[in-house]
């Protein structure tokens, strides 16, 4: 191949046609309250782990829905499970369980 001095970047958009929803579905089946989220961001605002990381549960939930598993993996590893998010969530999402289930799903061969 000739040396072009540049390369073609991979496509950036999220392709919902090919979205990988297995992790979300796994979590949803075991903890249906994940569906109640309205992405208000209260969880991220109060998050203890957000003091020293990019952690935001709102973002985790969105990324799960859009199948962006690599990013989910990076975010959830910051969680301290302290449960503050659960206390501020206006839709009463069982956030701690959600995080543990995500970890469980990420360990499974499907991802």
């Amino acid at each position: 191949m000739p040396d072009f001095g540049f390369s073609i970047q991979s496509s950036q958009p999220i392709d919902l046609d090919k979205t990988y929803r297995a992790v979300y579905n796994f979590v949803k089946e075991k903890e249906p309250s994940i569906q109640r989220c309205i992405y208000c961001g209260a969880c991220g605002a109060t998050c203890t782990a957000a003091n020293f990381s990019q952690m935001s549960l709102r973002k985790v939930n969105l990324l799960l829905l859009r199948g962006q598993i690599a990013e989910v993996r990076q975010l959830v590893e910051h969680c301290l499970l302290c449960g503050k998010c659960m206390l501020v969530c206006p839709r009463n999402v069982n956030t701690r369980k959600m995080i543990l289930l995500i970890h469980q799903a990420l360990k499974m061969p499907l991802s």
Binding site: E31, S33, T46, T48, A49, N51, F52, S53, R73, V76, E77, H78, C79, L80, L81, C82, G83, K84, M86, L87, V88, C89, N92, V93, N94, R96, K97, I99, L100, H103, Q104, L106, K107
Partner: protein, 603 residues
């Protein structure tokens, strides 16, 4: 030597139980670590063994703890256990009076009326027959109560009873049949030989219209068979608790505890559960319809059935442990099981390596994550600490840090250790002599997992000291308050009295139906990772109803999580103890600052 073929079912059963228990106990003890074996050995050859024996007598036979739960329930258990025990002991003594027995096979005292139809003519002979009849009557009354309990558990103080499995049902039916079968056999014997006393003679007389000569031998067979069935089903049913509880008491008093999942002590715990169902009422999750109580959980562990949900669905409030008549540490087992296979995928906490240098202070205050959601606590503690005149600083003023216990409660040991290491270094940096925290969750972890040089106090303890030293002065108000013991502070750390003393200095402290170790959980517990927030609030509502808080002006608690949970559903204001104190602080003289050292030394 007397023998008849009908003793075979009994004898085989007895041999089986004995053999099974010996092997099982041996295997358990063998799996103990060397240190634990040494502890056990030491326990056996020291006066502390007496404590175990006393406890075995009190609990395995007399069932004192069940008496405390409900007298009728206690009587039922005592009559069956202690009555049967006495029946066996007296039976063995009685045999001695029939001198031609040099060696007594175990079946002879059980079937004495068959082998020795004629009562010994002397006083002891008749006396023993009377005693044996009396004990049988007591036991039969216990059996009758057991029948009644099936149908009317409410009379025994139980709102919910255990749903049993087939094998347990077989065992319980055979147990219920044992003593009526004995009564029948002995009554037939009394009808023929007049060798009974007030009970068997009377029943024998009533039954004399039957062809007693033909029925007596089958009746002895029947008695032996039900005994045999019971013994054979015992190792596989809940009645395995009878022998196991003895071992449990000894191991527990020797200081052995379950340290990891599947530890031999845990196995003993599991087998020692009688599934009496007392924990079901104690557990607040049963009001939500969950069958997740230790009785079910331990059963599932014992028979190795699927129980992920049972492991997770527990508030870890410890009410079941307090209520358990056997004293099984079921919360420990759940905590240990949570560490298995549930470990988070990977954790990566980018804790800053450059921890800013803390100024040296006497008191380091750690509010805790949850207190940041209840800023009233932080504010109250600030004014109390300022008033106390000591030098202090707040560790998590700018950025909240976590104590690591939420991770521990979820079984995330590795992750928790990372957090603990970090937070510990933050605390040690300040060289404070006293670490005060507002959160019982943090408090428990600081005490148990941190190995800090500083003296760790919950703020209620700290305030108590300040009050005692008169470093803060509070006014009395006419309000009535009720105090809710947070699980982690009360049952978790045995801090019951300090908050009560602090409160009684300020307001009228009203008693509740659930004081101290009987206190209810607010439902907000971080221990439960299964139920959703709606269920938690339902528990909180139930708790408030049971505490009957409407008679008070304020509900006082000492945990930000309890306060947050209760506030969502409480009809009256919920306050932290620190808030009540801060609201009623009187300006004190700031002269005796130097006395402060005393607190840290005395505490």
């Amino acid at each position: 030597m007397k023998f008849d073929w009908f003793v075979i079912p009994f004898l085989a059963g007895l041999t089986f139980v004995f053999g099974f228990c010996c092997i099982k106990f041996y295997l358990w003890i063998q799996r103990l670590s060397r240190g634990e074996k040494a502890l056990l050995k030491k326990h056996f050859f020291s006066p502390s063994l007496w404590v175990s024996i006393k406890e075995i007598f009190n609990e395995s036979l007399l069932h004192r703890k069940i008496f405390r739960t409900n007298a009728l329930l206690g009587y039922m258990h005592t009559s069956l256990a202690f009555g049967w025990f006495l029946l066996i002991v007296l039976g063995n003594i009685e045999v001695k009076f029939y001198s031609h027995y040099s060696v007594n096979p175990p079946y002879v005292p059980i079937f004495l009326n068959y082998f020795e139809p004629n009562t010994a003519p002397h006083f002891f002979g008749r006396g023993f027959r009377f005693l044996m009849d009396f004990l049988l009557l007591i036991i039969l009354s216990g059996v009758a109560l057991a029948y009644l309990k099936r149908f009317q558990p409410n009379r025994f103080g139980m709102r919910r009873t255990m749903q049993h499995q087939v094998l347990d049902k077989l065992a319980i039916i055979s147990l219920w049949c044992i003593f009526p079968a004995r009564l029948l056999a002995e009554s037939f014997s009394a009808a023929l030989y007049h060798n009974g006393s007030f009970l068997t003679n009377t029943v024998g007389k009533w039954l004399s219209f039957l062809p007693v000569d033909n029925l007596i031998y089958p009746a002895w067979w029947g008695y032996s068979i039900v005994l045999g069935i019971f013994f054979f089903s015992l190792p596989f049913s809940r009645y395995m608790h009878i022998p196991t509880e003895v071992l449990l008491i000894i191991l527990r008093n020797a200081g052995i505890r379950s340290r990891y999942f599947n530890h031999p002590f845990q196995q003993v715990d599991i087998y020692a559960c009688s599934r009496c169902g007392i924990c079901i009422d104690a557990c607040q999750l049963s009001t939500l319809g969950y069958a997740t109580q230790p009785a079910y959980y331990l059963r599932s562990l014992r028979y190795k059935t699927q129980h992920n949900e049972l492991t997770e669905n527990c508030l870890l409030c410890g009410r079941c442990v307090e209520a358990c008549p056997v004293g099984i540490f079921s919360t420990d087992i759940r905590s240990h099981e949570r560490t298995l296979g549930h470990e988070m995928n990977s954790v990566h906490y980018n804790f800053s390596k450059n921890i800013p240098k803390q100024k040296n202070v006497e008191v380091l205050y750690f509010a805790g994550c949850m207190s940041h959601l209840v800023p009233g606590i932080k504010k109250a503690m600030t004014s109390i600490l300022n008033q106390s005149g000591c030098s202090w600083s707040m560790l998590d003023e700018q950025e909240t840090v976590c104590c690591g216990r939420p991770l521990l409660l979820a079984g995330q040991i590795t992750a928790a250790n990372q957090v603990i290491m970090h937070t510990r270094s933050l605390i040690e940096r300040s060289h404070a002599r006293i670490l005060v925290t507002s959160c019982p969750i943090c408090f428990k972890t600081f005490k148990e997992n941190y190995r800090l040089n500083a003296n760790v106090l919950h703020h209620s303890q700290f305030i108590k000291h300040l009050q005692d030293e008169q470093r803060i002065v509070t006014q009395r108000i006419s309000a009535h308050v009720k105090y809710h013991d947070p699980c982690e502070l009360g049952r978790g750390m045995n801090v019951y009295n300090e908050p009560r003393e602090v409160l009684s200095h300020i307001a009228h402290l009203l008693p509740t139906n659930h004081e101290k170790n009987k206190s209810l959980c607010c439902g907000g517990s971080l221990g439960n990772i299964f139920i959703d927030v709606d269920s938690k609030l339902q528990i909180a509502t139930n708790t408030l109803q049971q505490m009957d808080i409407r008679s008070a002006d304020y509900l006082i608690t000492a945990c930000p999580l309890c306060q947050k949970t209760f506030s969502a559903v409480s009809p009256i204001p919920v306050k932290d103890i620190a808030q009540l104190v801060a609201d009623n602080l009187l300006l004190a003289n700031a002269e005796n600052k130097n006395n402060y050292a005393m607190i840290s030394e005395n505490a």
